[in-house]
Structures are given as C-alpha cells and as structure tokens.
Amino acid sequence: MSRAIIHRLWKLLVVLLLQLIILNHVHVLTYATPVIIAYVTMNFQRGASRLGLLLWGFVTGLLYDVFSNTMGLGMCSATLLAMMQPLLLSLFTPRDAADDMVPSMRTMGTHRYILYAFFSMLIFHAVFYALDAFTLSNWTLTLMAMGIGGLMAFIIVVFAQILSPSKN
C-alpha cells in the first residue's frame, strides 16, 4: 500500500471522526449541518484514476451514512462530487500546474483554492440536502440548509488547509 493511500486513509479517519463526533451535532437553524467528508475526495491529485476517485467517494459516503444513519445521502453526494472533481479542478487549476498536482492553497493559490473548495462544498451540500428534503415544498428552507451547510463546511475546509502541516 503506497504512502499516499495510507496518508489518505489517515486523513479520512480524522475527517470522519471530526464529522461524527463534532459536526454531526451542529445544527444551524435546526436544519443545516456541515458535512466535510468530501474533503479527502476533493483533495485527490490531478490526473488520478476516475474509477478510483469514484470508488473512494462512494466508500467515503458509505462510511458517513453508516455512522450517521443517513443511508444513501452521503454516498450519492460524495460519488457525484467524485465524478465532478476533475472538472472542478480543471476549472480552477493554474495553467502551469504539474500534472499530478495535489489541490491545496499552496499548489493552486489561495484564491483559486477557496473558489474550488467553495464550489465543491456547495455542490456536495446541494445534492445532500436536495435528497434529504426530497420535495420542492419548503424549498427556501432547503436552499438555506444548502447554503449555510455548504458555507460552514467550506470555512472548515479552508481552516483545515490553513492549519494543515502537510505539504499535500
């Protein structure tokens, strides 16, 4: 098992614990909860296998769902984000970036990474809360949950990047 995979698994464990122990108990406006399990997925290196990315996203979502009793929600959202990750990355990656660049503030630049993280979290939360609501009635509440949850997750991700000692 390569060092990168172990590193990713370690990151996933930390993120999962943070999510399950702390963030799952944060309910802004009694509804919006930030979900950051996609953090590891969105930080996959550029040019990574799409199949591997999809499976990683799926498993991440599955782990979240199993422990949060939200079967299907996390899986669906994380898999979709894994599918879109290369596209988002290509939108915000600098032209002169390396082919195996790992997305971070350092490699992409703060501004680009913030945008990348923001849209990634927004997409994830949009799908997550759309599936959670599963109706168009009370759509303002759903939109607020998407926005607030996404924003909070984005902030956490940015802070995590800032505080991260890793070069990756």
Binding site: F58, G61, M71, G72, T79, L80, M83
Partner: protein
C-alpha cells in the same frame, strides 16, 4: 469493434458512476422511510400512468373483438326480447279477456288460444285454434275475444280445435238488445265478414241503430252480456212480421289472432240440476 471497446474503456467511469449512484439511490429509498414513500408514490403515479396508457392502447386495439361480442350479446338480447314479448302477449291475451269482461266473466275459466287458420268468404267459414282436448277444450264451448263473441267450438283433437265462427251460415247465437232486452237469433248471411243479422225481433220493440247486441245467456254456451255487435240498420223481415237487424260485429275476424275459450260455463247444467232437485222435492212433499 476495437473502437467500440476503446470507447467503452475510455468511458467506463460513466457506467461505474451511474451504477454507484443507482446503488446509492436504492439504499436511500430502502432505508429512509420518507424518501422511500415519496419515491413509491411518485413511481406508483408514473407506473399507473404507463399502465393506463397501455390499457388504453390495448382496449382500442381490442375494440373489434369487443364489438363482435357486443353484437353477439345484442342478438341474444334481441331474441330474448322477442321471446318475452311473445310470452307477454300470451299472458295479456288471457288477462285482457278477463279484464275487459271482468264483471261479465268473473268466475269463468278461460283457455287462451291463437287462431292458426280461418276462412272469411265461404258460406261455412271455419276457424282453427291451437288448443285442443289436452287443454280442456270440448265441443260446444264458447269462444270469445277481447272485442266480443267469436264462435263455438265444433270439433277438438288433442292439440287443435275447429271453431264455428259467427261468420258461418249454420251458426245461430241467441242474443238480445242491451237496452230493451228484446231477444232474437243472430245468423250470418254470407258476404261481408263484418256484418251479421239478428232476426225475429218483434215489431213492437223499439230498436234504434247504435244499440248494442249481446248474448242473452239462454244458450248453454255463452254467459249473458257478452257483446256481439252494434245495430247498424233496422229492416223488416222477409215475411214482414218482425224486424231484421243488420249488426256490425265487434269482432274483427280479418285480424283476429288471440281468442279465449270458456271452459267452465256450467250455469245451464247447474240450473237443470237445481230444477230437477226442485221437482223431486215437490213430488216428495205431495
């Protein structure tokens, strides 16, 4: 082929993505009651709509078969209607006879019959009806219809009877004027099947055209009061001693189909018996 395999390999992640999303959604609907119920309701609506569309198309395609079935059913119902009408007519025939002459015929039994053949323009016209001895019909029984007197049973076989109608020169029926109670004998004189004659009306009887002629009950065939016809003309008899009345018959023999045979007229028999008993009593007393 190679291009196709290359294409699939290149885009395999799409298939995997769709597969993983499908698995996610299946788990979502299976383990989340709210999403499951919403999906179930929506799916039901969609499936219901699809089924309805299929059913509409199928039923349209089956219209030919349906039409054939309806046609067949119509035929069956039509024949049932005809059969029921036939039965109703049969019943009505009996009831009509009884109802029209309810007061006259109360206590009498009738056997309904249909005229199956008759002649109108011969000297001795006869009529055949479809009931015979099996139905309790005997010779010398009176035959009536809803309009009035028809004739007298002449011969019977097991299933059929021959009737001597009024339109027979040998037919003689005792009758009376309804208002004046003068009586005579009705006898047909060939020719017009609607006209018959009543002879032997005394000259002092004041008979007017339009008066009704009915049975007088003197014969042992008809009870009294059964209408026969209406006086049309009052003529002198050939010997000039009495009147001869030209009577328009109520019974339309040209269209006559349904008749009734009076099967239990026993008044004369009863009267004869009573008279015999009276005479016996008198002789005993003496």
């Amino acid at each position: 082929m190679r291009n196709l395999i290359d294409f699939i390999q290149k885009n395999l992640y799409w298939l995997v993505f769709l597969l993983l999303e499908a698995v996610s959604l299946i788990l979502l609907f299976k383990y989340n009651s709210y999403q499951g119920s919403v999906y179930f309701t929506t799916a039901n609506k969609v499936v219901g709509g699809a089924y309805k569309l299929t059913s509409d198309v199928t039923s349209y395609l089956n219209l030919g078969k349906e039409n054939a079935y309806l046609e067949q059913q119509n035929e069956q119902l039509r024949s049932e209607v005809i059969e029921l009408k036939k039965r109703l007519r049969k019943r009505q025939r009996n009831f009509t006879s009884v109802n029209i002459h309810d007061t006259l015929f109360s206590g009498y039994k009738f056997v309904g019959a249909q005229v199956i053949s008759s002649t109108l323009h011969r000297t001795n016209n006869l009529m055949t009806i479809d009931k015979g001895s099996k139905d309790g019909i005997r010779p010398e029984m009176g035959v009536v219809c809803s309009q009035g007197v028809v004739g007298i049973v002449y011969l019977t076989s097991r299933h059929y009877s021959i009737v001597i109608p009024l339109l027979n020169v040998s037919s003689q029926i005792s009758c009376r004027m309804k208002n004046s109670e003068f009586f005579g004998t009705m006898q047909w004189q060939r020719g017009d099947p609607d006209i018959s004659y009543v002879n032997d009306i005394p000259r002092h009887a004041k008979v007017k055209p339009g008066e009704m002629v009915e049975t007088n009950g003197y014969s042992d065939i008809f009870p009294e009061g059964i209408p026969i016809g209406k006086v049309r003309k009052v003529k002198d008899s050939s010997d000039g001693m009495s009147y001869s009345l030209e009577v328009a018959l109520f019974t339309d023999f040209k269209t006559l189909r349904n008749v009734s045979v009076i099967t239990n007229y026993t008044k004369p028999e009863r009267q004869a018996l009573e008279a015999k008993a009276d005479s016996l009593m008198q002789s005993t007393e003496e």
